[in-house]
Amino acid sequence: MTAVDTPRTVRARRSEEDTAPSRSSDRFRRRLAENLTAYGLLGGALVVFAVFSWYPIVRGVLLGFQQVDFVGSPEWVGIDNFRTLFADPLFVTAWLNTLEFTAYALVIGFAVPFAVAVVLNELRHATAYFRLVVYLPVMLPPIVAALLWKWFYDPGPGLFNSALGAVGGPQPQWLDSTSTAMISLVLVSTWANMGSATLIYLAALQTIPGELYEAAELDGASVWQRLRNVTIPQTRFVLAMMLLLQVVATMQVFTEPYVMTGGGPEDSTVTVLLLIYRYAFVYNDFGTASAMSVLLFVVLGVFSAAYLRLSSREG
């Protein structure tokens, strides 16, 4: 608001002071100089945004309706790319797999950090240690986490089956079985990312006024009732934001399936982004890859718009 008001009042005051035409051209020149300086400072940002952000956004949509090779100019092909895509049996598989990943990630990756944060918020000892270690995996490059867990998942000498074997537990095939491959990827991704969600929830929990809990307790509310009627409503905004962010992030899952399963076994972990990658960088079919990107863009756009609405309403 002030950004708009201040220059206007300054301008109004100045026009009362000097009315001579020469002065007004002076003022014009000064304002021009100011604007030139400002755009000089903005220049770098304008160039990188234009070339590496705005232009690719427009081009991405156009490419969905074009066929490109690196020799000639792109050729318009109407909706042919989308036809190719819909005819590919992997198209439906990839969407279903991505939805499965997102659904698991919401059940595990959304609930676990919140539950952990609620418990951590009650503890009064070793809090610094808990915060430190839960965030450690977040700092690791995703490749490191993915390759480490691939080794842990090894059904032979791997850590998990060795540990399960020591206590007489089951010996799942993890990444090698169509029924457990996807959930195995969700587990790595949750392990690697839950630190940030946990600490964000923890920060939100600490803003809840203690009086609310006192009052609820005086009214005879049990721990569960307090959790349901105080904790969750009080953190509703952060929970909703994180939910939307998580949907947007998990629907773009790539690194884990690319590194750990390559989309297998039997295409059970081919995700949308993995299919885009294959079309573009394995089959060199950038048109169909872009058509798929446009669809992903539209689907995620809904969640992004919801996120922006929510954050601008509250912020």
Partner: protein, 294 residues
């Protein structure tokens, strides 16, 4: 924060008497063990796994503590797998991405916040509009742009600039910096101008010295994101000699002995872990500030 007892879900008195006290310590022990098992033990397993011999590494059941220690695996992996080269490439990519982001975003945010040029709001809006766009959906067109940059027609593949320049088109940086600059009193900037300082001098000598906290947040985000990135470097560094640690480790993973690969993974993760332990406070402050308000 928790030194004076803040009232939370369970009251302090309920935790300090009789059964409540026992329950508190039981939960504490459970959480402590679970956290150590989930977040510390895997790292221990990787660090010691790299020091086991190849034969010991495939034994079932595995040894919890290596029988024979081979710390030289780290040194051998460093030279034998050319990790030093990928490490150097990563440092070039990360430091460059950080510097370019600051050089682009700081002057731009300053201009939008304090110089307020004509159409400034429109420019800011167009930049912020990109903040929520899914990066994945833009991979293909951005890749094609980097392969043949418009107007100048340069191919940036295998060039660190292929990471630096797209990284600089970061609306989050502009947003965070502008919000901070907005809170610096206009009088401070005006006073510098009346003293005859140009906008650049004002930025450098007046604005930047009071902006250390926000510069730290932007820097941390820039460095961590660049170090962790995988898919973009995978696309723009097809030449093995130019690859970053993440891309190179993924490429060689199927073909190298497990203990060497583990050594590589540990060495790739170590700088970030050290950075976290050192800058923990700033990183966590940036995390919550960035997520709740951004």
């Amino acid at each position: 924060m928790s030194t004076t007892a803040v009232r939370t879900l369970v009251s302090t008195s309920a935790k300090s008497t009789g059964r409540g006290r026992a329950a508190y310590w039981a939960v504490f022990a459970l959480v402590f063990l679970a956290f150590t098992a989930a977040f510390v033990f895997p790292l221990y397993w990787a660090v010691t796994g790299a020091m086991k011999s190849s034969a010991e590494l495939v034994r079932t059941p595995p040894t919890v503590v290596p029988e024979e220690w081979h710390p030289e695996t780290y040194r051998e992996a460093w030279t034998g797998l050319d990790l030093w080269l990928y490490f150097r490439n990563t440092v070039v990519v990360v430091v460059g991405a950080w510097l370019v982001q600051l050089m682009v975003a700081v002057p731009a945010a300053y201009a939008l916040s304090k110089l307020r040029p004509k159409f400034g709001k429109l420019v800011l809006g167009l930049m912020l509009a990109t903040i929520m766009l899914p990066a994945a959906a833009l991979l293909v067109p951005t890749y094609l742009t980097v392969v043949d940059v418009p107007i100048v027609h340069v191919n940036l593949l295998n060039n660190p600039a292929a990471v630096w320049l797209p990284a600089a088109a970061n609306a989050f940086n502009i947003y965070v910096l502008k919000r901070f600059f907005d809170q610096i009193a206009d009088e401070l900037v005006d006073a510098a101008r009346i003293d005859g300082a140009g906008p650049l001098r004002t930025l450098w000598y007046v604005v930047l010295p009071v902006s250390r906290p926000v510069l730290a947040v932007v820097s941390i985000f820039a460095v961590v994101a660049a170090w962790k990135d995988f898919i973009w470097p995978l696309l723009v560094f097809p030449d093995p000699g130019e690859q970053t640690l993440s891309v190179a480790l993924q490429r060689v993973a199927p073909d190298v002995p497990t203990n060497y690969l583990l050594a590589g993974l540990v060495l790739a993760g170590l700088p970030m872990v050290i950075a976290f332990v050192v800058f923990q406070r700033q990183i966590l402050a940036g995390l919550t500030a960035g997520s709740l308000k951004g």
